[in-house]
């Protein structure tokens, strides 16, 4: 047993706090918007130039001028605002975003994050991921613990080119929740297990220094 993608998103949503401005990455992080806890009011930023992202539009009401950073059609809210890409990243770079939740290909025990390229295999680009990684107050990685081939994505050091160095605060995977020591070098701390998952299961699938504090 482990968490499904929805359950992972639901667990990550517990990290949201009332009043937060939040940027959700593409993939599983997008699902977090479906699990915002009752009584918690968060404003979602979309780095293409919007604060206050609303839900997907009803059929027939999509507007080509209103999309999120994943290029999906969305809607606005009474509290929404629009601005340029330069202003959008000024608020990111300036540290005004409280939390970002991003997907990852690899995370290292020192908080390094790799999620934008596989040399020779995948050519896409980093988009806004490097800006978010370097400048947002708190960064949560939300990802499957292992790759499709069963390789651990939680490593001592990343092998892929980095998105950001020492930037990850917390990892939520299908196996559990881990704190990253970005500055101190004490490695990962396992603080929560998904139901039915044992510490040994996690150890077997983790290639990083890890302490257990359940």
């Amino acid at each position: 047993m482990s968490w499904t993608r929805e359950q992972m998103a639901q667990r990550a949503a517990l990290e949201l706090r009332d009043g937060y401005y939040v940027n959700l990455g593409i993939g599983i992080p997008t699902l977090v918007a479906n699990f915002i806890p009752p009584g918690v009011d968060v404003t979602l930023q979309s780095e293409n130039g919007m604060l206050g992202m609303g839900p997907f539009p009803y059929e027939g009401e999509a507007d080509a001028d209103l999309i999120n950073a994943g290029k999906q059609t969305i809607t606005q809210l009474p509290t929404s605002s629009f601005f340029s890409s330069a202003d959008s990243f000024a608020m990111i770079r300036g540290g005004h975003i409280d939390l970002t939740i991003l997907g990852a290909m690899e995370v290292a025990e020192n908080g390094d994050l790799a999620n934008w390229t596989i040399p020779g295999k995948m050519l896409k680009g980093m988009g806004g991921a490097m800006d978010l990684a370097a400048n947002v107050k708190r960064l949560i990685v939300l990802m499957e613990h292992t790759s499709k081939d069963g390789e651990s994505k939680v490593l001592q050091r990343c092998k892929l080119p980095l998105t950001g160095a020492a930037c990850v605060d917390l990892i939520v995977s299908d196996l559990g929740v881990f704190e990253c020591d970005k500055k101190g070098g004490s490695g990962l701390k396992l603080i929560e297990l998904a139901p039915g998952v044992t510490v040994d299961d996690v150890k077997a699938k983790t290639k990083a220094k890890m302490t257990v504090a359940l």
Partner: protein, 238 residues
Amino acid sequence: MSKKVFPDAAAALEGVLFDGMTLMSGGFGLSGNPENCIAAMARLPVKNLTVISNNCGADGFGLWVLLNNGQISKMVSSYVGENKLFEQLYLTGKLQLELNPQGTLAERIRAGGAGIPAFFTKTGVGTVVAEGKPVQEFDGEKYVMERGLMADVAIVKAWKGDTAGNLVYRKTAQNFNSVMATAGKVTIAEVEHLVQPGEIDPDAVHTPGIYVSRIFQGAGYEKRIERLTTRPREGAKA
């Protein structure tokens, strides 16, 4: 009639294009693309372009058309995924690519338009992006130096513009358009609605007319949606 107003894209582009030039093109994905200018450029012989744009269109649309014509030799972008032609040209060495973090790209353009030759940012420190660039410490944190960007011509798309070149964008179609408008030696704006002075509230202007050299009312906007995503109405049958 204002000297800035042109009848269409072909007329607005006349005399400002040359081989080997640098072009900025607004838009994020397919939203807020200067569709008329791109289509007109595809019919002109100009080539060896360096194009600064967040993305490079999508199959059959936007800058993809110039790429498919072999008119682009270098792209400066932040994300070029979902574009098979791009990948193929890049991997066979027919296209150069400079990837920038999206916020760094936006700020480089903002800086260029504001007369700032370089600035420092935390973004990219400790990654390949910082390789070969000066890194300096401020207040105990490391920052990498990035250069301002200018272009020979910037093509931008706005929702509304007046004959003095004042522009208003609509929702997330603003994206890179307003900042690129400031960084072109020549900026050409295409608008869905060209209006007379006084019809735009001065408090609502996003791009003041000083930045806009030429303006025209575009035609036949396709405004294609890349990822149509909707939800069912409450109470509707599934």
